[in-house]
């Protein structure tokens, strides 16, 4: 249990109102597009209308002649500086501006710079590019066909195959399947979708020729890593690069990679000696920046007659588009997908993934997801439901029968992860009780008699977050520790700087609460600053729900270092030995003599005015935290749907989400995260799809046809918690941002399939549109 501080201090467990809100509600946020510098000019990208074509010629003369145009940069220009290609975050490279040919629709072909936005866009229209169309490869299942075109002629390997990755014991798994009473199989596509944060990506690159310094205002979830990559790729000394990630309008993984537009803006600023702003449009964002998922998966479960799962076998085809621009730890080509064994205890599993190229936008990034855990959770939770259907067992009973027992933690999964802690049954019980599961089943039975369609879907997911231990986890070689630096000022107020970067998660409030918890200094007195690489300690940034597990831990550890020093100062002030002192949040006092007290504020003042001889002045500490393990949040979500037979429309009647993310810093913020993640899960389950036609034309390339939930489709979410602290985290937290997005798609789909299961429906791929449902109803003869 975490000791509760007073409301005034506002440590962990208090629903403190957010500090960052005061600027946002006044319209005084400072997002990248709000950055306006003297002499600033604007960049605009020319993009390919074709998915696969040879570049025959680029004529920039007309564009250059337009008044106000300052530069037109092509791939050939970049090639001279060896910048036509850049490395991706995953052992591949991608074109910054096309040379030779283009590989996906909307690929970057030229960069126009002009005095203002409108002129830049006009000039982009005047760039005359001649293309020769090439055969297009859209279907990943055809990527390895000998008849398919080889897309990447730049590679040594003349094939569209990127990687094969496997994990687990194939022999033992195959053997378990041979002897199994029951086998269940599901072929599920987790469709290509896009995170679509409300703010698109962009930057202002400002190279100052007088100082040699390059400042980049960037929509970045990982400003420090981006600084290093700019230094490594661009050859600019790292001390001459300052990345500032100002307010970020949502990220969800979209703002982890480096995009061609950023590189072009930097090159243009270096060339012109003026600040260059490049902000992509929404259509550009959807059509060219990191997509997510596109996993074509098969899962098979082997089980005994009475429903004990014995083995899992998974085979997956991963469509990475034209370049493998996955943003994930380098040892894991399929991310943490091997957490697909889920919340269940069985000895054998085998999982294999093959990545292939197609003529689509490059990716895939982790969309509100810890590197493919969303695909994994969806797959196992779908497979368990299919097995329940096969066995004619209630899906809740089947889950209960197979949950990893609480006594088995830390639990080593069949695919090699060590789950830190878990207690799955109580979370499911709470969710089922809250929703009134037994009554709902009765209601469903009655409705079926009357020909009405309702369904109940359960998802008992396990997350894997907080990457990660440095022995296993790195991004582009940089280990995945994270950091916090705390400085306590003489008057007892302080500043806390982090290696992470909030994109809406409320870090300015929650990190202050951790300091408040550890030092007893009111959260209101702690300023939290992130995103400026000149001032913040190095860290890998915010994604994969890693801020609380890693930087949050660093904050607690840094605060504890300060407390240690404070203790020495208190002993000096109270003229006693350190061993005689006791701590309670906010003060040290002499054991047995509570009147002899020094508050943390008094100690802070003394640290600068009256510190002991031989001790360094000041009260500050920095901590680089290397987590010993990942954390494994979990929960059970229950979704209740009604289906309109006439239209095929699915209405989410109720949704109960029970999360267990260990100890909680700010319950209000946790609930907000859950609401938001569930809404994204709703969008994925029912609306969001980046599709392509046979010519590689993107079909979800704007908000006209890439649908997101509005307030009207979004149901009222019901949330609750159980609490199983992480045993290895300094304050027992696990992280929560992604759980609702990871756990919910299966709950939605399971509910719809459950509504139709008596008709023999076993699976429906997302997004489950009314048309899809209506078509099934028609096939099954439910509607004519």
């Amino acid at each position: 249990m975490i000791a509760k501080t007073s409301a005034e201090v506002g440590g962990m467990g208090h629903s403190l109102k957010r500090k960052e809100d005061l600027r946002f509600i006044r319209g005084k946020g400072n997002y990248v597009d709000d950055v306006n510098l003297p002499n600033m000019v604007y960049g605009h990208l020319v993009r390919s209308p074709y998915a696969h074509a040879r570049l025959k010629s680029i004529n920039i003369e007309k564009a250059k002649a337009l008044p106000g145009v300052l530069a037109v940069i092509t791939g050939e220009d970049l090639a001279k500086a060896n910048l036509a290609w850049m490395p991706t975050l995953f052992f591949d490279k991608q074109m910054v501006l096309a040379t030779g040919k283009v590989l996906f629709q909307s690929q970057e072909v030229a960069f126009v710079v002009a005095e203002d936005r409108y002129t830049a866009a006009d000039a982009a229209e005047l760039v005359d590019v001649e293309y020769e169309e090439l055969p297009v490869l859209v279907d990943p299942h055809k990527s390895l066909d000998p008849s398919s075109p080889i897309l990447r002629d730049d590679r040594e390997q003349k094939s569209n195959h990127i990687f094969h990755w496997e994990v687990g014991d194939k022999q033992a798994t195959d053997k378990a399947f041979q002897g199994a009473d029951v086998k269940a199989r599901v072929d599920a596509v987790f469709q290509r979708c896009h995170p679509a944060p409300l703010e698109t990506c962009g930057c202002v690159a400002d190279h100052n020729p007088a100082t040699g310094r390059l400042t980049i205002y960037l929509t970045s979830q990982a400003p420090h890593a981006h600084r290093t990559l700019f230094a490594l790729v661009g050859g600019i000394p790292e001390n001459n690069i300052r990345v500032i990630s100002p307010d970020i309008g949502g990220g969800f993984g979209n703002k982890v990679p480096i995009y061609p537009g950023y590189v072009c803006a930097v090159v243009a600023s270096l060339t012109l000696g003026r600040p260059v702003k490049w902000i992509e449009s929404r259509s550009e964002n959807l059509q060219s920046t990191g997509f997510a998922r596109d996993y074509h998966m098969t899962a098979e479960l082997a089980a005994s007659k009475d429903g004990k799962i014995q083995a899992l076998r998974v085979k997956t085809l991963a469509d990475h588009g034209a370049f493998n621009a996955a943003a994930q730890p380098t040892k894991f080509p399929a991310g943490l997908f091997s957490v697909c064994t889920g919340a269940y205890d069985y000895p054998s599993a085998f999982c294999e993934v093959d990545g292939v190229y197609t003529n689509k936008a490059p990716g895939g990034i982790a969309y509100r997801c810890s590197f493919r855990v969303t695909e994994a959770a969806y797959l196992i939770e779908r497979a368990v439901d299919v097995l329940a259907q096969e066995l004619k067992i209630d899906p809740a009973d089947l889950r209960r029968k197979n949950f990893i027992a609480p006594s088995k933690f830390p639990y080593k999964s069949a695919l090699g992860w060590t789950y830190d802690s878990g207690n799955y049954e109580p979370a499911m019980k709470l969710a089922l009780d809250k929703v009134g599961y037994a009554e709902l089943r009765k209601e469903q039975e009655e409705k079926r008699q009357k020909g009405e369609l309702m369904g109940i879907g359960i998802s008992s997911f396990v997350e894997i977050v907080g990457a990660g231990p440095s022995h296993t986890f790195d991004i582009a070689g940089i280990k995945m520790f994270d950091s916090c630096e705390i400085r306590i000022h003489p008057t007892g107020k302080g500043i806390c700087r982090m290696g992470t970067k909030s994109q809406g998660q409320g870090h300015e409030t929650t990190y202050a609460q951790i300091v408040a918890q550890e030092l007893g200094i009111p959260a209101a007195d702690i300023t939290v600053e992130e995103g400026d690489t000149d001032t913040a300690p190095y860290g890998l940034g915010t994604y994969a729900s890693r801020s609380t597990p890693v930087s949050g831990a660093a904050t607690a550890m840094a605060a504890r270092k300060i407390r240690e020093k404070a203790k020495k100062i208190a002993a000096h002030l109270l003229e006693c030995s350190e061993a005689d002192l006791e701590w309670e949040p906010g003060k040290f006092f002499v054991k047995g003599t509570p009147s002899k007290t020094k508050t943390i504020q008094e100690i802070a003042f003394a640290a600068y005015t009256n510190h002991p001889q031989g001790m360094e002045a000041g009260l500050e500490a920095v901590d680089y935290y290397d987590p010993p393990n990942l954390t494994f949040p979990f929960g059970t979500y229950v979704c209740v749907v009604d289906i309109d037979k006439g239209t095929g429309e699915v209405k989410v009647r109720r949704f109960v989400a029970v999360d267990d993310c260990g100890n909680i810093i700010n319950p209000m913020i946790v609930d907000g995260q859950v609401h938001g993640g569930l809404t994204e899960g709703l969008g994925i389950a029912f609306m969001q799809l980046i599709d392509y036609d046979e010519n590689g034309n993107v079909q979800g390339g704007s908000f006209m046809d890439y649908l997101l939930p509005t307030a009207v489709e979004t149901p009222h979410w019901e949330t609750d918690k159980t609490c199983t602290p992480s045993p290895h985290h300094p304050f027992g937290a696990k992280g929560v941002g992604e759980s609702p997005n990871v756990g919910s798609p299966a709950a939605f789909v399971n509910a719809v399939v459950d509504a139709l299961s008596h008709l023999g429906v076993k699976h429906i791929d997302m997004p489950i549109t009314p048309w899809k449902v209506w078509t099934i109803l028609k096939e099954k003869g439910v509607v004519s």
Binding site: E20, D33, D34, L198, G250, V674, G677, F703, T710, A711
Partner: protein, 162 residues
């Protein structure tokens, strides 16, 4: 470039004018000419509502209007919501009820909610959900925005402010 035209708009109670290209979007006029950057751009198809402002009492998506079309109008943006140094009840509600996360949709949400409360000072949950259905939020799942608007409606009923 077409000939520039004079545009005169009363913005947040202040008369503002500028010579602009006829094709200049109202949102760019607000953000770049007036330097009121609270109004945001989140899409290019009039769907997201981040650019919502109140023009002559009605919400408009300022990305879908030319500045010249607003000539002679009265415009309210998020920067004009505070009065006498005090937050508008809606601003207060968004903070109190955790109605925002990244903050990017917030100005548009505030303006749509403002216009809703002008028309309907006792909205129920469904009214509010429809009232903000032209504004996308990717962070909050809307639930706390609904609560924020209810908070403001309650506060305005008590205090009678605006």
């Amino acid at each position: 470039m077409a000939k520039k035209q004079l545009v005169h708009i009363k913005v947040n109670g202040r008369d503002r004018e500028a010579m602009v290209e006829p094709r200049l979007l109202l949102v760019h006029f607000i953000r770049e000419v007036l330097e009121l950057t609270g109004t945001h751009v989140g899409c290019d198809t009039t769907h997201c509502g981040a650019c919502t402002v109140v023009l002559d009492g009605k919400t408009v998506k300022s990305c879908t209007l030319f500045a010249v079309q607003a000539d002679g109008s009265e415009l309210l943006t998020v920067e004009g919501l505070m009065k006498d140094g005090k937050l508008h009840p809606l601003q207060e509600g968004f903070k109190e009820e955790h109605g925002l996360q990244c903050g990017f949709c917030t100005p548009g949400m505030l303006m749509s909610s403002y216009a809703l409360l002008q028309k309907n000072n006792k909205p129920n949950e469904e009214d509010i959900r429809w009232g903000i259905s032209g504004n996308l939020c990717r962070c909050t799942g809307y639930q706390n925005i609904v609560k924020a608007v209810q908070y403001a409606a309650g506060k305005m009923a008590q205090g009678g402010t605006r």
